[in-house]
Amino acid sequence: MTNRLLFRGLFSKGLARTLMGQALAFAIALALGAIIILLIDESPVAVFLTLMRGAFGDTEKIAGTLLQTTPILICGIAACIALRGGMFNVGIEGQLFLGGFAAAWVGFAFSLPPVLHVLAAMTLAVVAGALWVAIPAFFRVRFGTDEVVSTILANYIATLLTSYLTIFLFKRPGGWSETPPILPSAYLPELFSFSRLNIGLLIGLALAVGVAAFFRWTSAGYAVTMVGSAPKFAEYGGVNVRRVGFGVLLVSGAVGGLAGGVETLGVHHRFMEGFAPGFGFDGLIAALLANGSPIGTIFTALFFGALRAGSLLLEVDTTASREIITVIQALIILAVSADLMMRRRGDRTGERRWKF
């Protein structure tokens, strides 16, 4: 939804209808999820209660939820940036992995003064993410190569590449498939003593507010939104559509790399093979669920983070697999996409264009 439409939507019955539809979609998705949980011989109520307990049971659990929320939120912001510019960056997962590895490498291979070390590691993570998306982005804007497929394929290569680097070149002697630990000078400061929750969450929140403000109040942000929603109008208005498209993907990739950096420097303090499975995809669907709104993504990311944190307890207390939450997430996206998201413009012959 463009800002203008969002603005109008806030003060009309459009918002009520949107929220109603969204609630209906949620209800349908949860009902379907309950059926699937019944099919695998578990009680939906027990699963729901376990999820809630696992996510918000006590202070530590809440901190755990926020810990899971952080990478989803940052990846979600990365997805929002691309979506607003009319791009589908499905490669956030790959950018996350490369960013994570790059940050870890700076963390263990160099010794620098405390703050500088974190900044250097983060910078390299951001650069790695941006570089990884640069090639698909270039071909997207120059030759129209579909960015969805190219970034998905790049994900597989990024994951295998980081595994290769970790296991064949930088493996910790005697360890599992992980790099040596980073130096304490590169640790992100933790927020509480009882949790690994770190200032990454604040970085994510600041990013969300900043990106929202950028789209809301700057002319560049308006230009990006117009490139995403009405490229011809934007071009007529003198916007260089290609350059904006390239920039949007590059920034999105940079934020994806940042997410990886936050995850290694803040949580694991090393790079491990498969250290952040699915955060990139979770971020993308959180952004889709929020209709490409950075502020909305804070809440959807929190929701997905709670599901993830709760699912850890699910594996302990019930016979259900923790992957049941990805089923619920997918069902929600499907239900929501059926009606309200990205309503298609065009006649019955089906001119395709997604809208926000």
Binding site: S321, I333, A338, M341
Partner: protein
């Protein structure tokens, strides 16, 4: 030289044909939706869910055919959901496709735990693999090493390769094939002709599900009889890449699939030579990516030609207009 002859031999060709089969099946399935004007990114999920249910089905029915049928049925259910959301509800096809892929991953892992009580993979347990077809007389006629090029594959290998000419005939000679193409290329014309765009797209989607289901069944019941988490490992996305640069044309699809099948087989071969497995595993994806970029780059001269053409036309119109205007001036 010895290394080269070890790398390239009949066994490599046979391996190529084997690895090409699932990706060829799923890409041919995708050709229906591509021709019908739907960008189907959900192939991966349809394949994965079929692979899982083929394993489940073969255990419960005790036959590989039963497994295949149940696997295909599961893929058809996914294809139907996709069609309902994309065609009827007009949802965004990328979003729906990605969500269905995630759903397939989640459901298979959840059911794996619920049914078999394991994580990761299921092997043995009475899974019945597809039989191997020995073409009678091939061994006597061609000798043992050449015979394995055409004989001894699972039935789905033959189905996949025979489907290529059949699909060419389907698109050029049958009513449904023509309708699918019209709906994809000129939906307005299809509507003017009274062809139901919705039903044709449903038909294309379900045909796609059928082929994706066969591909999935071949993955889990073909040469290895097991199901592993995420065992489709991006083949559905490679198929989408092929579909993008082939436009769903069966022959070009075959060419692209052979390229990836070869990359797959070749990378497996490299692994036995002690190359780091992680880099080797990345080879097929890299090939897909490079092919995608290279072919979109090759498509570029055409666009430039067209642009130059339009500019020239615009200029010539302009100039002739100028000439007309200029002409009277000297006279006056």
């Amino acid at each position: 030289m010895e290394i080269l002859s070890n790398l390239f031999n009949v066994a490599l060709l046979v391996a190529t044909i084997r690895t090409t089969t699932p990706i060829l099946l799923v890409a041919l399935g995708g050709s229906f939706t591509t021709k019908a004007g739907i960008f189907n990114i959900g192939l991966e999920g349809q394949m994965l869910i079929a692979a899982f249910f083929a394993v489940v089905g073969s255990i419960y029915t005790g036959s590989s055919l039963g497994g295949m049928v149940i696997g295909v049925f599961a893929a058809l259910v996914f294809a139907l959901i996709y069609a309902v959301l994309v065609v009827s509800f007009r949802a965004n096809e990328v979003v729906v496709g990605l969500a269905l892929n995630i759903l397939a991953g989640g459901i298979t892992v959840s059911l794996l735990k619920a049914i078999f009580g394991t994580r990761g993979s299921v092997v043995g347990r009475g899974i019945v693999g597809l039989p191997k077809v020995q073409i009678p007389g091939a061994r006597d006629l061609l000798g043992p090493s050449t015979a394995q090029l055409i004989s001894g594959y699972t039935p789905l290998v033959y189905v996949a390769f025979l489907a290529v000419p059949l699909l060419i005939i389907f698109y050029n000679r049958t009513r449904l094939g023509l309708y699918i193409r019209v709906v994809g290329e000129k939906p307005e014309a299809a509507e003017a002709l009274g062809i139901s765009i919705v039903w044709i797209r449903y038909a294309a989607s379900l045909l796609c599900g059928l082929f994706a289901g066969l591909a999935g069944a071949h993955m889990s019941l073909g040469y290895i009889t097991m199901f592993t988490e995420n065992m489709s490992s991006g083949r559905g996305f490679m198929a989408v890449a092929i579909l993008i640069f082939s436009g769903g044309d069966p022959l070009k699809v075959l060419a692209g699939c052979l390229l990836f099948g070869f990359a797959d087989a070749f990378s497996l071969r490299l692994q036995t030579f002690g190359f780091p497995s992680y880099l080797v595993l990345a080879v097929p994806y890299a090939v897909a990516l490079v092919a995608l970029f290279a072919l979109s780059w090759r498509a570029r001269p055409k666009r430039i030609r067209e642009t130059v053409e339009t500019i020239r036309r615009a200029l010539s119109v302009h100039r002739s207009g100028e000439a007309d205007r200029d002409a009277p001036l000297p006279r006056s």
